[in-house]
Symmetry: C2
Subunit: 235 residues, 2 copies
DNA sequence: GCGCAACCGGAGACCCATCTCCGCTTCGTG
DNA sequence: CACGAAGCGGAGATGGGTCTCCGGTTGCGC
């Protein structure tokens, strides 16, 4: 896109592209934006999602005004962080799915690989995860979320085909595992070692087919839940 | 065990939960106390833990002053609800552990039974679960928590002995599963069917020993985490 | 250099949930 | 029945957080 400075104001007002990516900002402004994101990441990791905006601004070495000029609201800042996390997850899933079943025998399946990577990136951003899997208004984000879960679905089918996963398992089952993993990561953040790894191992063991095992007794849920995300509030 | 019956029963249940509560209250006061607990339960179930005290008072048909005379703080009210939940869990675990391995072949182990019951009672109180497994100051509660996890440890050992659970599994692994289950219940509350049941089934499948399975790669965590509970804030 | 639009800081306006205070009412005992 | 203690309601004080406003500053095209 090419746009001169006189139209800069209109661009900022109309499209969120400038606000989101930080492109087209004056050098100092762009730098401050990056600092703010980094500071927010650190602050949330330390104090959870209820770290105050003032601390974030202080950590970034800027004033409140700057923070709120870059991000119209605290929520927007959090969403931006979620974006980074999600992007990493999606990118890895793309690669992992593209690899298909072409793996060394005994190696973890693409599904397992992706789930462990999800854990990894979520753990390194604990505190910013609140909105990650929630139902989200922005349509562009919804589109990418749909892509992710299509990829996960592919990998789930592959894993079933190779006998790595029991056939009754649905995509929603995987989704629920991710939700649970997310919460566990946030809950156990700061308690020493990465407890979530071992937990995920146990869950994945539950995914695998076992010779004489009884089938799952409870019915699976509708798979549309996965792309919709979980609702923010309950009634 | 639910508080669905008359107010008198709810008052009695609340009275036995903690010695300090509602003992020598005037009749109207005791009734209001029970109403408040019931109202809080409903409000939290609907709007999550951030339901306002004003709504709780309104639901109970009393004024703010009454609420704060009965419960010195909103936290105390939440703790009182947690108490009810915990009591039910502990009681069931006691019975289940006492039964030991004396079960019909193919029947679920005491461990599985207790975990499902935990899910049941947590699900019927979703929104009040925030402080359930957190590190808690009151020493009497700590004592009972220790008892619960001793019982769970017994049942874990029994399940290992009967071959229902793989030998490498530790009490902390079970604890982490409970934490994850708790969060999942809260996250998926109100999204139709009880998704947590199927999820728990999958996790329990991961508990079971499988003939040719590889052992868990990651080391278990220190078991003291279990009775300590997870810290409230991270630094 | 010059000018101006974009940017900056941070004091305080604003909002909202928690909690307090006090004049009036109700219980229940002597 | 009468009287004091316990209980009651709910308006508003409090506090902590988000967000705004505006005078001064700075990057950057010309």
């Amino acid at each position: 896109m090419t746009m001169n400075d006189s139209q800069g104001r209109a661009a900022a007002a109309a499209g969120t592209a400038t606000a989101r990516t930080g492109k087209g900002l004056r050098r100092d402004a762009a730098e401050n934006r990056a600092r703010l994101l980094r500071a927010a990441w650190e602050a949330f990791a330390e104090h959870g999602a209820d770290a105050g905006v003032e601390e974030i601004a202080r950590r970034a070495g800027v004033g409140m005004g700057t923070l709120y000029r870059r991000f119209p609201t605290k929520d927007a800042l959090i969403n931006e962080l979620s974006e980074v996390i999600f992007e990493s997850i999606l990118e890895y899933a793309r690669m992992s799915a593209a690899l298909g079943t072409d793996r060394a025998p005994g190696a973890p399946s693409g599904l397992e690989e992706s789930l462990f990577h999800m854990g990894e990136v979520m753990a390194s951003h604990h505190g910013c995860l609140a909105r990650l899997w929630q139902a989200s208004p922005p349509p562009e984000q919804d589109e990418r979320r749909t892509e992710l879960w299509q990829l996960m679905g592919q990998m789930l089918d592959q894993a079933k085909a190779t006998g790595d996963v029991r056939p009754e398992l649905t995509l929603t089952d995987v989704y629920l595992s991710v939700l649970a993993l997310r919460s566990l990561i946030d809950d156990t953040a700061g308690t020493g070692p990465d407890l979530w790894r071992r937990y995920l191992e146990v869950v994945l063991a539950g995914f695998r087919p076992t010779p004489g095992a009884r089938p799952l007794a409870y019915q699976p849920a509708d798979d549309t839940l996965v792309t919709r995300g979980i609702p923010k509030h309950r009634h």
